[in-house]
């Protein structure tokens, strides 16, 4: 979700011939990424053998492609531009309170898209909180933004933090010498930004664009609640509303192709650029904003924080207050919270452990095998969650009956989807660690295993912790795969919010949502402190 694609220039040498724990670890790494390869294989097999290809009319496919594609483009473009602006405002300028703004702008990350959509529905329309505010001024109610516009707004607001978190660390480490030189040669400020700063930001922007595009492709909750017809919504409608599951699977296969196309496009544009800073570089001089720039910049940041964080909390709070005031029952949320935390902790731990062999193999032992492992892993990250759920249900029913509807399968699903978050974080840390440290340990007589546990893993620890925090956060919020894979009776907070919303019990939904946000706050803090305040 955040800057998991290594972008910064690594030390001169990162690969090793004899470091711990040995070349053969690619086998372990392969085992770790294998579950992520299962979903596409299973779905394609089911579609081909079940004669499902003809169950969806081609006109319907084209319509969904058009609508999904349009949304993904628009969200990626808008979030990219705004996220770049927030990163620049809070990193490169003299804007007042920029450090606090930088943190505030990333906080919407804890809010799942379906909660964002739900609160947007609650804020607008004749009864909405925002409409009440406009009513004070004698203006009419704000119409509920459903369809494309609503989905676009919600997904953009909640993916801006992804761009911000990816761009800020890079922007902070850019060598100011280049910009200073350009300015010294008389280039106006805008031209310096366009011709010097922006090109250096291409790698993080491409990486952020990928994260946002995949987020939009995979989103299920917001498009469903805001009634914009995309693949994920259509897949769930077919899954839920039909006895025949083949149309859902056919749509899922097409959606996977869409997601992999997005991944492939990013790989093509990113290139292999690496930028070095000169050793003697000074800290950058902040750009002095004009008065208009200060006001405009602050207004933009404030708007984002209000829309992404203030509004959801206000709406949730008012629902909760109204419900409690009317004496309505909140219902059980504590056991749901305990389940959410349990699966999130287990998944995060397993993902972090599995990330160790993957990171070591892909960073220290570059080979065709290790780069295939890397590609396979990122491909599984691109899989829309609903397709993973669908595939694992079909797989366990057909081939692994004892795993069907088990907690273990749910966790396998989470790890398959979110291992790249942990591994990517571990990779970028390991890239910064010189293999000479490990080689020194070996030459001093320590065994490979001992070197691994005493040198490599401790050095990776921070990356692993951040990766685990990221996985925890994502599992807490995950909805579509959880809906399909959860064991009987295993209702999590996310499922609870979804089901109470569908039934119109907003008081209960808001209590669960509030608890979800609270639990997510700690891991978010870990993440923010890594990416923003190095």
């Amino acid at each position: 979700m955040t800057a998991t694609v290594p972008i910064l220039a690594p030390p001169p040498r990162t690969t090793s011939r004899q470091g711990p724990p040995g070349r053969w670890w690619w086998v372990v790494a392969l085992l770790a990424v294998l579950p992520g390869l299962l979903p596409p294989v299973v779905l394609v097999a089911q579609v081909v053998t079940g004669g499902a290809v003809r169950t969806v009319p081609i006109s319907r496919l084209l319509e969904l492609l058009w609508q999904t594609g349009g949304l993904v483009w628009a969200v990626t473009l808008a979030a990219g531009l705004v996220g770049l602006a927030t990163a620049w405002l809070t990193t490169a300028t003299d804007l007042q309170g920029r450090r606090i703004w930088s943190t505030l702008v990333t906080l919407p990350l804890v809010i799942p898209s379906y909660v964002g959509a739900l609160t947007l529905l609650g804020a607008t329309g004749a009864r909405g909180i925002l409409s009440e505010v406009t009513g004070w001024f004698g203006w009419g109610p704000i119409p509920t933004p459903i369809g494309f516009f609503g989905a676009f707004v919600v997904l953009t607001v909640y993916s801006i933090p992804l761009v911000h978190l990816t761009v800020v660390p890079v922007l902070r480490r850019l060598d100011p010498a280049l910009e200073d030189a350009a300015r010294g040669l008389g280039a106006p400020r805008w031209r310096v930004f366009r011709t010097v700063t922006l090109p250096q930001l291409r790698p993080p922007l491409a990486a952020a664009g990928l994260l946002v595009a995949l987020y939009a492709v995979s989103d299920f909750g917001a498009v469903s609640l805001l009634r914009y017809d995309t693949f994920t919504r259509a897949i769930y409608a077919q899954y839920q509303g039909r006895l025949d599951r083949r149309p859902a699977m056919t749509l899922a296969v097409v959606l996977i192709v869409v997601a992999l196309t997005v991944l492939w496009m990013e790989r093509r544009t990113r290139g292999r650029a690496a930028y070095h800073r000169s050793k003697t570089s000074r800290p950058r001089t902040p750009v002095a904003l004009t008065r208009g720039g200060r006001v405009g910049g602050t207004a933009l940041l404030a708007l984002l924080v209000v829309a992404g964080l203030g509004l959801p909390i206000a709406v949730i709070g008012s629902w909760l207050a109204r419900g409690v005031g009317l004496g309505l029952e909140i219902g059980s949320i504590w056991s749901e919270a305990a389940r959410s935390v349990t699966v999130s902790v287990i998944s995060a731990t397993i993902a972090a452990l599995a990330a160790i062999p993957v990171a070591i193999t892909t960073v220290r032992y570059r080979s065709r095998i290790s780069s295939s492992i890397d590609t396979a892993m990122w491909s599984s990250y691109a899989l829309p969650h609903i397709t993973v759920g669908l595939a694992l249900v079909a797989f366990s029913l057909a081939y692994a009956r004892s795993w069907y509807q088990s907690l273990a399968l749910l966790i396998v699903g989470y790890v398959a989807m979110f291992l790249p978050q942990a591994a990517g974080s571990a990779q970028s840390v390991l890239l910064q660690v010189s293999p000479q440290l490990e080689e020194a340990s070996l030459s001093l007589g320590r065994s490979r295993w001992r070197t691994l546990t005493a040198i490599t893993i401790p050095l990776m620890a921070r990356g692993l912790a951040v990766g685990a925090a990221l996985v925890f956060l994502t599992v807490m919020k995950e909805l579509p795969a959880t809906l399909l894979l959860r064991p009987t009776g295993y209702e999590t907070l996310a499922v609870r919010i979804w089901s109470t919303t569908a039934e119109g019990f907003y008081t209960r939904a808001s209590a669960a949502a509030l608890l979800l946000l609270t639990v997510s706050a700690l891991p978010l803090y870990l993440l923010i402190s890594r990416d923003l305040h190095d």
Partner: protein, 330 residues
Amino acid sequence: MRSKVAAALVIALVATGCGASESDGPLVIYSGRSEELVAPLIDRFTEKTGVAVEVRYGDSTELAATLLAEGSSTDADVFFAQDPASLGAVDDLLRRLPQDLLDRVPEAFRDIEGRWLGVSGRVRVMIYNPALVDDSDLPGSVFDLADPKWAGQIAIAPTNGSFQAFVAAMILSSGEDKTLAWLQAIAANQPIDFPGNSPIVEAVDAGDVSLGLVNHYYLLRLQEERGGSVARNHFFSDGDIGGLVMPAGAGILTGTNVPDGARQFLEFLLSPESQKYFSETTFEYPLLEGSEASAELPPLSSLTAPTIDLSELAGLLDRATDLVTEAGLL
């Protein structure tokens, strides 16, 4: 030593996998009825009988599809669905219920071959906002909504199980051609589609939409949560398919290993206590012979329920989805 991490991974996975137990443990219920509505009832059942229960909640059609995929190896003992179509879809997997149990509900609300029975009734209605729709304009039949004068005013939930079962019933009562023509006319009226019944009721009550096709009890629930409502229910009468009474019901799976618990559960659903719960808490019609519905509702006998055989609905469920898709509503 080296493979410790890998071993830990495997152990963790296997250990969590073992949590899913088999054999004759608790009574497993697949509930197409939402947790919000039936969880208190199920808790009461356990309290009363001591039978431990595990519930899988989901959409009725989805769970029916799940049961079909699982086949006879399913862990489920009872299927508790919100519409007869879902129950009918899996009737090959259901065992025949004892006659004395079946006899407690009217014949129209149970399977001809006695494999499932209705426990509570819900009526399809048109909810409307009196500020936007004049009482004198209320349509006499759901087919009247095809009139272009309703353009842009109709809210529907095309992905909802109740809507799909309603379309299946329309196919049964009026034929495919007439149903498709109606759906196409509705589509031409540019309806506003919602993910479920509750948001429709919210929107109509708020005046964002004039009217919507939903089940009758959503409005009563909103009135309870809000302490009142602007919107009203309009019941289609004279046997109009728009006023279809559909039972939510239950059946017992053939492969159950706790048949006694399953039977006890069905008996509990038809007990006066549960029937009172359906009437007073979920605002449905109790189906146990002799029990009374909420005073706020028109009596069930005053609603001329359409004469269709509910057992036949199942076969038409996917066809209904096809027609809804063909009309461009899904």
